[in-house]
Symmetry: C7
Subunit: 95 residues, 7 copies
């Protein structure tokens, strides 16, 4: 497993099955690139100028939307993860 | 629903019906892109260097004008939302 | 009306009638673009790093000179306003 | 008159008459652009992070050298002024 | 040995043997460039604005993933090391 | 004379006579541009965020090496001066 | 001698004699440019925002590796020195 540093988080991307309104499942080339995923690891948080750690807002298991093209992709055991900073996560998806 | 992080807000864009002075409703290609919308969610606010949260100026329901081309578009349940930071919101529209 | 956020102000631009020295009123294409206007709304001011608000220097009614090409134009009820930060206002015009 | 904001100053540019060593007064196209002038107005000064104003180093009447191409030109009553920040003024000329 | 300064670390890169799913060991030109390695030295840490040292998160022996193309390569005794700042290390690999 | 502002200094450039090893004095086009000079004036120093002045490290009379292409050239009474910030001075030359 | 200012250091570059594995000494054009050297002078250190000096990590005599292409070359008495900031020094070489 990956243990992120500082204010970084590790995300497992969700490729949501994409179907047109008439129910046709889209092939890969017709899909929009997903910017959704699930948080699988959270770093200890950003260090403030006074030396204290800022507790992260995100938790493992959160479904999130993140900035497109942000972060670095890391492959571990055939799974593609994305490591990005908490600042690059836009919002938590709630149901 | 989307729960924004930090000093981010979620906006539902308002496409105001555009009519010329003589009353003709404009087609899509002739419309100016709207930079107006309604705040539908507000994050917990920016964290200051001393670790305290800065209370956001914006509230859910505020009609706002924002910087053109700012933020990231996120589609949820056929609605197009815009996630941007409070700094990218210019003004609240009051009547 | 527009209620600006943070250290932003709303300006109503003044297009001063431009006449040549011999008294000819210039047509639009020959005019210099004005960077003068009147403050019509002032935000609550910039937030300092210690969380306090910095009181704005500008007041509603101030005639000002601002940086050319700064800010965002916003149209409300057929009037063209300009929303910019207090930093982009250069000076107050006094008589 | 112009009352500058923050750490800005208003300068009236001095075009020094330029003569060659043999005494010929140069025409406009042969002159070097002057970066000298006289301070005609001084703003209240820059605001520090703790909210205090920093007293300006410059005074009305100071003859100064400033960075070429800095600031914004503002015309009032047929006089061309230059509004720039105190940081863009290099030195005071003393005799 | 290299003793890194400030918040820098020294990494010995791991070129993981790359085999296709059918077991063929890949030649050099077909390999992806590794961004994995082992920490072999850790600097004293970043100095905060109040003059205190921030204790590094990384330890000698940590297996890490780092940003591709970050840092400077340094060759010592036929071994290729990479010197980068702790900010450029993304995550620790744990088993 | 020039009295520099803030953390600026005024330098009188030294064009060291350049001779080849065999004693030939080089013409202008063959000379390297000098980045050496003598400090002729020192400003009051940079203002820290707490409002205090930081005493300059340089003194009038110091022979210094500075960053090539830094600063602004100012001509006074046929002498070419260079106004630059203390940060752009690299080192004092001692004998 | 050169006395560096602030957080700068003066380095005398080491061109290590480069021999191929079979013992052939390489000519100039075949050499890699060295980014190793010895510290010959250390400045008083960086000034923190509270006005205190940060004691440098480096000492005269340290053998160091620095960022390629960083700093300014200064020639004194036929020796080529390099003046760079402590931040541009990557690591101390220890035996």
């Amino acid at each position: 497993m990956l243990r992120p540093l500082g204010n970084r988080v590790v995300i497992e991307k969700k490729e949501h099955e994409q179907t047109t309104k008439s129910g046709i499942v889209l092939t890969d080339s017709a899909k929009e690139k997903s910017n959704e995923g699930v948080i699988v690891a959270v770093g200890p948080g950003r260090t403030l100028d006074n030396g204290e750690r800022l507790k992260p807002e995100l938790n493992v298991g959160d479904r999130v939307v993140f900035q497109q093209y942000a972060g670095t992709e890391v492959k571990r055991d055939d799974t593609e993860y994305l490591v990005l900073t908490e600042d690059e996560v836009l919002a938590v998806i709630e149901d």
